[in-house]
């Protein structure tokens, strides 16, 4: 089922079925693995240092060290797959047994000594994406003596999908596919990140969600993305992207005020008649399209300067919105409450989009092209945000799909 050329590839044979009992006690059940992982990590750290020195001398990772570290990375992936509900069965402790969320890691090859020597600084951009996907530990900083500390927590996509998936799996006995695939994407990137850090490969981690997860579904959601971007970027407009977006952001802010009242009106009408008025649906759809033209421009997911009216088919990053349909009054009545999980995930995807724009800015300036992986990661983040936004505006009652999709992205 592997779809990627990357030497470190995720294999996924999970059937989405979840046992409610093990899901409910998942954290407690994972405690032995946590202890084992901690012990293994200490040894792996020492072996990694030894591997670095040996690889620097030999130009490749020695086979015994490679096998040990590869098993460690496989184990981490399997265990985190279990813990984050990407898979169901209890994993083995060896890292060598097969598992529904597994890895293939290509045999060790020669690596550039320069790349080995400076591996740590090379890891920095990948570490930013890794933190966006897997989350950063909680931290505290004290601005001034005597003042209260400010605690910051970055949840990461993997943790949030697990959190939401826990409730969903308990309720339905199945993990929603979108959440599972989003978690698998995070795991795949994490595995590639650690493999690169531990010198199992010299291929840089690939942030492309389409290459990360095998067998992605093809969907035709009422709110979906059509991407016709060719990855080329104008260095001049990339350098000045933020100030260039300012007139658009002001215009969007003004439009948002109208859209807010439009959404309230839409809620009242849809609740009473079961469908949006056509003119209001068109107005809110144009607003949503325009907003995501602007965000795609700002976040470097697309290149050209967008128009100001959200015209259909006018931009390479196009949010396609289906015509109005009947909507469930129950779903309409409780729309804000129902949207809460989507909004939580939206904030995590927002953090990912932020990492994409920071890294993409430097990369596009240097090469005049946006890396495909970063572009697709950003597109996934914006597509999910657009779907959530559209759900809140009552353009559809179909819930936003949280995972990557093949055609749509």
């Amino acid at each position: 089922m592997d779809v990627s050329e990357h030497p470190v590839r995720l294999l996924l044979s999970d059937d989405l079925e979840r046992d409610r009992l093990t899901v409910f006690f998942r954290f407690v059940l994972a405690i032995p693995h946590f202890i084992w992982l901690a012990l293994w990590s200490i040894v792996a750290l020492l072996v990694a240092v030894l591997n670095w020195v040996a690889a620097l001398i030999l130009g490749r990772a020695p086979a015994p060290l490679y096998r040990f570290l590869a098993a460690y990375v496989r184990y981490v992936t399997q265990f985190y797959g279990y813990y984050h509900l990407v898979a169901n069965p209890y994993p083995a402790f060896s890292g060598r047994a097969t598992y529904p969320v597994d890895l293939t890691i290509a045999a060790p090859g020669r690596q550039s000594r320069w790349s080995i020597a400076i591996r740590a600084p090379l890891l920095l951009p990948a570490a930013l994406i890794f933190l966006g996907l897997a989350g950063a530990p909680a931290g505290a900083n004290r601005a001034r003596p005597g003042t209260n500390a400010n605690y910051t927590v970055s949840l990461g996509l993997l943790n949030v999908t697990a959190f939401l998936g826990w409730f969903a799996s308990l309720a339905r006995g199945r993990m929603p596919r979108g959440l599972r695939d989003a978690g698998a994407y995070s795991l795949s990137y994490g595995a590639q990140f650690w493999s690169y850090a531990l010198l199992l490969t010299d291929r840089y981690p690939d942030s492309d969600p389409l290459a990360a997860v095998p067998g992605l579904p093809v969907r035709s959601d009422p709110i979906r993305l059509e991407l016709a971007d060719d990855l080329r970027r104008s260095r001049l407009t990339v350098f000045f992207r933020a100030p260039l977006a300012v007139p658009h952001l002001i215009w969007l802010e003004l439009w948002s005020i109208l859209a807010f009242f439009g959404a309230v009106l839409n809620w009242l009408v849809t609740l009473s008649t079961g469908r949006s008025p056509n003119w209001l649906h068109r107005f809110l759809a144009a607003y949503l399209r325009y907003a995501y033209h602007v965000y795609a421009f700002l976040y470097l997911i697309a290149n050209p300067f967008p128009g100001f009216v959200g015209k259909t088919g006018s931009y390479p990053f196009e949010i396609v919105i289906a015509p109005r349909e009947r909507q469930s009054r129950w779903k309409t009545g409780f729309r804000i409450i129902l949207a809460v999980p989507g909004l939580i995930l939206t904030s995590v995807y927002g953090a990912l989009a932020f990492v994409v724009v920071v890294l993409g800015w430097f990369s596009s300036l240097a090469r005049g092209r946006m890396p495909r992986g970063l572009r697709n990661a950003g597109a996934l983040a914006l597509r999910y945000q657009a779907q959530t936004h559209g759900y809140l505006l009552l353009l559809t009652d179909a819930y936003p799909y949280s995972g990557p999709t093949r055609e749509a992205d």
């Binding site: 407009t237 002001i250 290149n303 050209p304 300067f305 128009g307």
Partner: protein
């Protein structure tokens, strides 16, 4: 000159229409001249003769030498920046239209993008000279601003400039789409109206301010505002001491939004109460003589011919209705601004002189006024008697020596 040939052929074909156009233009020119004359009026006595004041009589030779070297560097730096600006805009006018492929925004949106990118190119071209100026000011202790902060501030400020240029192009290109060749007739008043609005709300756009409502300076503001006929005018203090040590003040707004803004570097103890009072009276003088509105008036008078020339020079690219004409429009507009700078400086100096005169009449304290000007030269390292070329190109205030001479003239006039 193809446009001239076309105009001649058009006039030969339809002489009565040409005559009517000529008469309309003459009427417009006459109105322009009348308005300029009205704006040119000043309350400074027309027969006032300024006595000769030698810079060496008021300032030490070391200060003169230091300030001369300081200002000469900045003036040359500014001149080079202007050359870089023009070169960048010439290149942009020739090649900027190629950037149209980076837009999916339609006619006006693409024009807005090209306008913004023009400003961005200008910012890049002027950046080294801006950094050189920061280095020089830091070296002389006039500025505290760091280099990175200076670049970042400029970059962030671009956002505001981009909004301005987008709005201007939105108006001009919309009008050009509707009125074709005659868009400039409607655009000039529209821009003047925008400038008026901007002058009215300017007080809300000044960052890092707080109201000055207590202390001796607040008392002086209230008293002097009554004396100068602008009772009720308030004063704000702007915190700038992190960036600069130079003192300054400005008058902003009109009607209910008129305000005097004092930099906190003016109130840090280096200037005595009487000297601060002179500054306050000067700024109130601007408000009392409606200089904010007069500046909008002058701007309108500048914009009318400037917009007409922009319309003329952009014809070869299909007129300002087309986005590819925007880089040319930018070049023409900026060059016109540069060419008319010595003229606008004359107007500005006249208004500053009127504010000085107003201040003298309100405070009746020529000693404080003189002391203020001496201290201003010392703290800003401004050359009290700059070379003529720098005075003509960059002097938007009378020189310090001229301002001291005005103090002496006032004293002589009131001693009689």
């Amino acid at each position: 000159m193809r446009w001239l040939r076309d105009a001649y052929r058009g006039a030969a074909a339809r002489p009565w229409r040409a005559l009517a156009s000529l008469l309309a233009l003459l009427a417009l020119a006459a109105l322009w001249a009348l308005a300029a004359q009205a704006l040119w009026r000043s309350s400074v006595p027309s027969g006032l003769r300024l006595p000769h004041v030698g810079a060496r009589s008021a300032f030490s030779s070391s200060l003169l030498s230091r300030s001369s070297s300081y200002e000469t560097f900045l003036a040359i730096d500014r001149l080079l920046a202007t050359v870089a600006l023009v070169v960048a805009l010439v290149v942009y006018a020739r090649r900027g239209h190629r950037l149209m492929r980076e837009s999916a925004a339609g006619r006006i949106g693409t024009g807005m993008m090209l306008g913004m990118l023009g400003f961005a190119v200008v910012w890049l071209a002027e950046l080294p000279f801006g950094l050189a100026a920061v280095w020089w000011e830091r070296r002389h202790g006039v500025s505290h601003q760091g280099y990175i902060a200076s670049v970042l501030d400029g970059f962030i400020a671009l956002g505001g400039e981009f909004v301005f240029v987008s709005l201007a192009l939105l108006i001009a290109m919309t009008l050009a789409g509707i009125m074709r060749r005659w868009w400039w007739v409607a655009a000039a008043p529209a821009f003047a109206a925008l400038a008026l609005l901007s002058a009215f709300v300017a007080v809300y756009l000044v960052p890092q301010t707080h109201v000055l409502d207590r202390g001796p300076t607040a008392v002086d503001v209230r008293r002097l505002a009554r004396v100068e006929g602008v009772a009720g005018t308030k004063a704000d203090v702007q915190n700038v001491n992190r960036e600069t040590t130079a003192p300054n003040a400005e008058a902003v707004g009109f009607g209910p939004t008129r305000r005097v803004i004092l930099w906190n570097t003016l109130l840090d103890g280096r200037f005595g109460r009487a000297e601060v009072r002179a500054v306050v009276a000067h700024e109130l003088g601007h408000l009392a003589h409606d200089h904010t509105l007069k500046r909008v008036g002058w701007l309108a008078l500048f914009l009318l011919p400037a917009a007409a020339l922009v319309a003329l020079f952009t014809r070869r690219r299909g007129g300002l209705a087309r986005p590819e004409a925007v880089p040319v429009a930018l070049l023409v507009f900026v060059v016109l601004q540069l060419v008319t700078t010595p003229l606008t400086n004359i107007v500005s100096r006249r208004e500053e002189a009127e504010a000085d005169w107003s201040s003298l009449r309100a405070t009746r304290d020529p000693a404080a006024e003189r002391a203020l000007f001496v201290k201003l030269a010392q703290t800003t390292l401004g050359n009290p008697d700059p070379p003529t070329w720098a005075y003509v190109l960059y002097g938007d205030h009378p020189t310090i020596v001229q301002r001291i001479a005005m103090v002496q003239a006032w004293r002589a006039r009131n001693a009689r």
